[in-house]
């Protein structure tokens, strides 16, 4: 079983990212689950969402406490929220940032970075002040973790994006190519 936690702000599409990643993993024959942190969502407020992936049937229905990977859609959250909480040693940390992996001092984790905001703005996803980076960051996930192929991510985006499916898929692919791995 592989468990992923997404951090974002309401409106950035973290919940949709968790759903699309689950769909992509499902297309590859896995059992999956995705769910938001159960609560009341507000635009701009911190949001968490989760995905579970397993090659056998998933029975468990509790929250994810010790994820194998953490995806951060908005690194400004990191000053307020411990995004590393419970992340397994050696786990993946995928960040939407202009910085380089070596700019972060998290030696226990595999860090991958991409400027998903620039990619999303480039494809006109959301607005410049409020870009929707969820599909772009999934390209980075596919590159960094590799347990879901980028082709499946693109297919999942095309089949489930509520609008602008092509641009969203292009953004994911662009991010995939731009992702910098810190290991």
């Amino acid at each position: 079983m592989f468990e992923i936690r997404f951090h974002g702000r309401g409106g950035q599409g973290a919940v949709t990212a968790a759903n699309i990643l689950a769909t992509a993993a499902f297309l590859e024959g896995n059992d999956v689950q995705s769910f938001p942190f159960f609560g009341v969502e507000r635009r701009g407020a911190p949001v968490e969402a989760y995905t579970r992936i397993d090659n056998k049937k998933i029975d468990i229905k509790m929250y994810i406490y010790n994820p194998d990977a953490v995806v951060v859609l908005d690194t400004s959250l990191m000053s307020k929220i411990d995004v590393l909480k419970g992340l397994k040693k050696g786990g993946y940390l995928i960040l939407n940032t202009q910085k380089k992996p070596q700019d972060f001092n998290f030696k226990d984790y595999k860090i991958a970075v991409v400027d998903a905001t620039e990619v999303a703005v480039g494809f006109g996803l959301g607005s410049k002040s409020a870009p929707i980076v969820n599909t772009a960051i999934l390209g980075a996930y596919a590159k960094a973790v590799g347990n879901v192929k980028i082709e499946s991510v693109l297919e999942a985006i095309k089949s489930s994006a509520p609008s602008r499916a092509e641009d969203n898929a292009k953004a994911a692919y662009e991010s995939y190519n731009r992702t910098i791995l810190g290991w």
């Binding site: 689950a22 769909t23 995705s34 769910f35 159960f38 229905k61 929250y63």
Partner: protein, 399 residues
């Protein structure tokens, strides 16, 4: 059959579509709101041929459902928590008028304090309303059991409304792969809706839900009781037929690792999966533990419970509800089932997960530990799990 990624509320909306429901009166309430949204969308897209009635309250939603069902058409609605509480008066009217309405419930805590999360208090509150109760563990079950609910409700020997409970958020808002059946298969399973009860018909005027004197009221109640007894076999038959067509088997009560288990968890709803995972873990550690899942709560599967637990020394009932002054509702039913049974196991009630507190593997490990201790000695009948007892005692005093 196509697999789709669906949330629990979407699963029940697709079930409504596949059952060819004709009228959906609904009033939105968290966590059920996605049901009316999805049904409206399916109707607007032309995928579903039904009348959606946006009413002004839950009381009106079920009243409108009664009106629709009384004309003989297949009718469904959905609600949760306070919405179900507000419907209470009408629930008894629906069952008393013997109308086969189906309702999806997003099981949620009751106020006060206000809480929108998973808890089965709401449907336990309407235990005695004469509705059949199904409970889903997964979104697949939510879809399947909703379709099965129509089959059972509409049976001429039953003609009782049915509710299908799924836990708030844990199912209603969680996305899982769901095998969505083909329309032709659901048509074959359910058949054309028959008019097998008196309906509103201007050419044959009749009175419904009328005033009844003491010399007749009891016979109406007795007939409801008999209908619910009939439902026991009708449900078994419906499960069997469903399995033949769709290849997914259900039973009112199902066991996992029960044969040689000294201790059995009894669970209902989404908490079951985590319990199963815990049983696997404890089995690997050599513990003799198993699991019994309740899928049908009304009619209560008393005989099946007694049979499936016959080798157990301790039954650990898990209740996501509490009746202050006694115990959780499932404990009450399970304990009562053994009233006239000679060699009964010890039965303990564990209260947990109220108001959406996450039900974790560790909680079941704790329940197992306490049950194992109880196997050899004294025990408290009702025990709360994962609760800050000390802070409560500071205010309320110790027992």
């Amino acid at each position: 059959m196509p697999m789709m990624m669906l949330k629990g509320n979407e699963s029940t909306a697709y079930a409504a579509k596949l059952a060819r429901v004709k009228v959906v009166p609904a009033y939105p309430i968290t966590p059920s709101t996605v049901f009316p949204e999805k049904v409206s969308e399916l109707i607007a897209n032309g995928e579903m041929d039904a009348e959606f009635l946006p009413v002004e309250s839950e009381h009106s939603a079920l009243s409108a459902a009664i009106g629709a069902a009384a004309t003989g058409v297949r009718t469904m609605t959905a609600t949760a928590s306070q919405g179900l509480a507000f419907m209470n008066e009408i629930l008894y009217i629906a069952s008393g008028m013997r109308l086969p309405i189906v309702m999806a419930i997003g099981n949620r805590a009751l106020a006060a304090p206000v809480n929108i999360w998973a808890d089965q208090q709401d449907t336990m509150m309407v235990r005695d309303s004469g509705w059949i109760h199904f409970y889903a563990e997964t979104n697949q079950e939510a879809l399947d059991l909703t379709i099965i609910a129509f089959k059972v409700s509409e049976n001429e020997n039953v003609l009782l409304p049915a509710l299908m409970g799924m836990d708030a958020f844990v199912l209603t808002h969680t996305m899982e792969p769901v095998n969505v059946p083909e329309q032709k298969d659901v048509d074959a399973f359910l058949g054309e809706k028959e008019i097998n009860y008196p309906v509103l018909d201007p050419s044959k005027p009749a009175t419904f839900g009328a005033f009844v004197f003491p010399e007749h009221y009891m016979e109406f109640r007795y007939s409801q009781y008999i209908a619910m007894e009939h439902a026991k076999k009708v449900i078994d038959d419906a499960f069997e037929q469903f399995n033949k067509i769709f290849g997914r088997g259900y039973s009112k009560v199902s066991g996992f690792q029960v044969e040689d288990a000294d201790i059995l968890f009894i669970t209902m709803g989404s908490m079951t999966g985590t319990a199963r995972e815990t049983v696997r873990k404890l089995r690997e550690e050599g513990e003799k533990v198993g699991l019994v899942k309740i899928t049908v709560f009304r009619p209560f599967p008393k005989d099946e419970i007694i049979e499936i637990t016959k080798n157990a020394k301790v039954i650990a009932v898990v209740d996501r509800n509490i009746s202050p002054g006694f115990a959780g509702a499932i404990f009450t039913e399970v304990a009562a089932s053994f009233t006239n049974v000679k060699n009964r196991p010890k039965i303990i009630d564990f209260i947990l997960g109220l108001g959406g507190r996450d039900i974790r593997v560790e909680n079941y490990e704790e329940i197992y530990k306490r049950s194992k201790k109880a196997m050899r000695g004294k025990f408290e009948e009702v025990q709360w799990i994962d609760v800050d007892e000390e802070s409560v005692k500071e205010v309320e005093g110790s027992l």
